[in-house]
Amino acid sequence: MELDEHLFRRESARMIAALTRIFGVHNLALAEDVVQDAFCRALEVWKVRGVPQNPSAWLMATAKNRALDVIRRERTANTFAPEVSRLFDSEWTLAPVVDEAFATEIIRDEQLRMMFSCCDPRLKEEVQIALVLNILCGFGAQEIAGAFLTGRAAVEKRIARGKASLATSRRLFDLTDGDVAARLPVVQRALYLLFNEGYHSVSTTAVVRTDLCREAIRLTELLLGDARTATPATGALAALMCLHAARLPGRLDGSGHLSALVDQDRSTWDAHLIAHGLALLERSARGSEVSTYHLEAAIAAAHVQSPSVDDTDWDTIIELYDRLTALAPSPVVALNRAIAVAQRDGEERGLDALRAIEGSDRLADYPFYRAAFAELELRRGHRDQARAHFEAAFGLARNAAERQFFEERLRSCEAT
């Protein structure tokens, strides 16, 4: 039996969900200990007997037994989850309660509650995301640091800070509560940032980036699976992720290099994900709410439905960018809008739009801002200006893939 490549990461997240339901979120460290214990037992047994037929069930059963041991040993000294702890006093009720916590639907529910607890607005967004990645996706500090190009120590500090805050509450976020509507946008935003982290440039390895995108989609689908959290904005967010993720194979060419939208081989785009994303977007159009996710998803939909760059409906895209600017103005949105203007009205107009970006000082460190100038200068034949901008972009590049990409663009300034 072969080992699934994400087995331990996936099962860690599921076991933590079940165990915190039993132990209470204040005993998160105890839950993590039990998970690690189950992993150690798995190593000892599997290396002798081989990987079992159902490794996931094996790990769950082992964690369940360990949980029973812990409760029997500590029930007088420790306080467990308030919802269930009174049932731990009798052996008659103890086992069924622990069993129930490991049921698939309960685990799904607990993960949802954990997600809401991690996205506490009192925590910084970077802390929320580190917590979600650690607890709900099973990533270690080392991997999170790798994905964010942050030091491991900084990530460990974020996780520790987040967990300390979680430990102060006895219960996970209550989804029957009226606060769901207030907390949901924070959760959506964290998942949106998590996805972007995977999709845009920062990490060097294609594998990590695809994993982050996949996890963001999985967690968003968890929101979609519950009537209380499946709002039109959630649907639009899921659509947006699918439509972008569909282009991920094209964005990273075979060797893991970034390729510009113009050069992307559209046949590499994932047709199944595109269809799924478009269906989600259509369904999310019910109701009167138009979120930024709706607009961004609509822009992504316009791109994936175009057979080529030249046949793209730039009028619609620019109009969507205008609406997005009205709803949530940002220099990055303005930059993307300027690129669309250049596609429709030519380089001169595009350059005008780039220069007119409000708050462009916030783009000073963003390599693709200078790259946009460079591309348009190159197109109108001003090679020297183009080269200068590409050199600046190269200097701002955040990783090897970006550096290589700008190096190639610099070479095209030389070609006749």
Binding site: R9, A42, L43, E44, W46, V51, G138, G140, Q142
Partner: protein, 118 residues
């Protein structure tokens, strides 16, 4: 071909560290499965041994005193065993170099099984 016993010696701390995060657990498991599979494929694996629980009891001396332990704090805990077949002690030791326990600074004690000619 002669029989050799591999005694795996490590600390509980190193053992837990090897499974410390899901990513590490995945890697450790893959390494172990790979190493055992390779020994098996090359016809060196005679017995995979038995998994051992932590802790236990020790019976010692003429007075037959029973004490608890060895405890997890012991630096040099016997974590398990395995029986391999190799041409000689040198080959058996060479084969042990692939053992993942070494990554965590553990040790493999390679002991020839005494040949019984009768």
């Amino acid at each position: 071909m002669s029989d050799f016993i591999y005694l795996f010696r490590t600390s509980e701390e190193a053992r837990r560290a090897a499974m410390g995060t899901p990513e590490l657990a995945q890697q450790s498991m893959q390494r172990w499965l790979g190493w055992v599979r390779e020994l098996d494929a090359q016809g060196h694996l005679k017995s995979r041994g038995q998994p051992l629980e932590n802790g236990g009891k020790t019976v010692r001396g003429k007075k037959k005193v029973i004490t608890d332990g060895p405890f997890a704090e012991v630096k040099d805990l016997v974590a398990g065993f395995m029986v391999v077949q190799a041409a000689d002690l040198a080959q058996a030791a060479e084969l042990a170099k692939g053992c993942p326990i070494l990554e965590g600074d553990g040790a493999v004690e390679v002991r020839p099984v005494m040949a019984m000619d009768f």
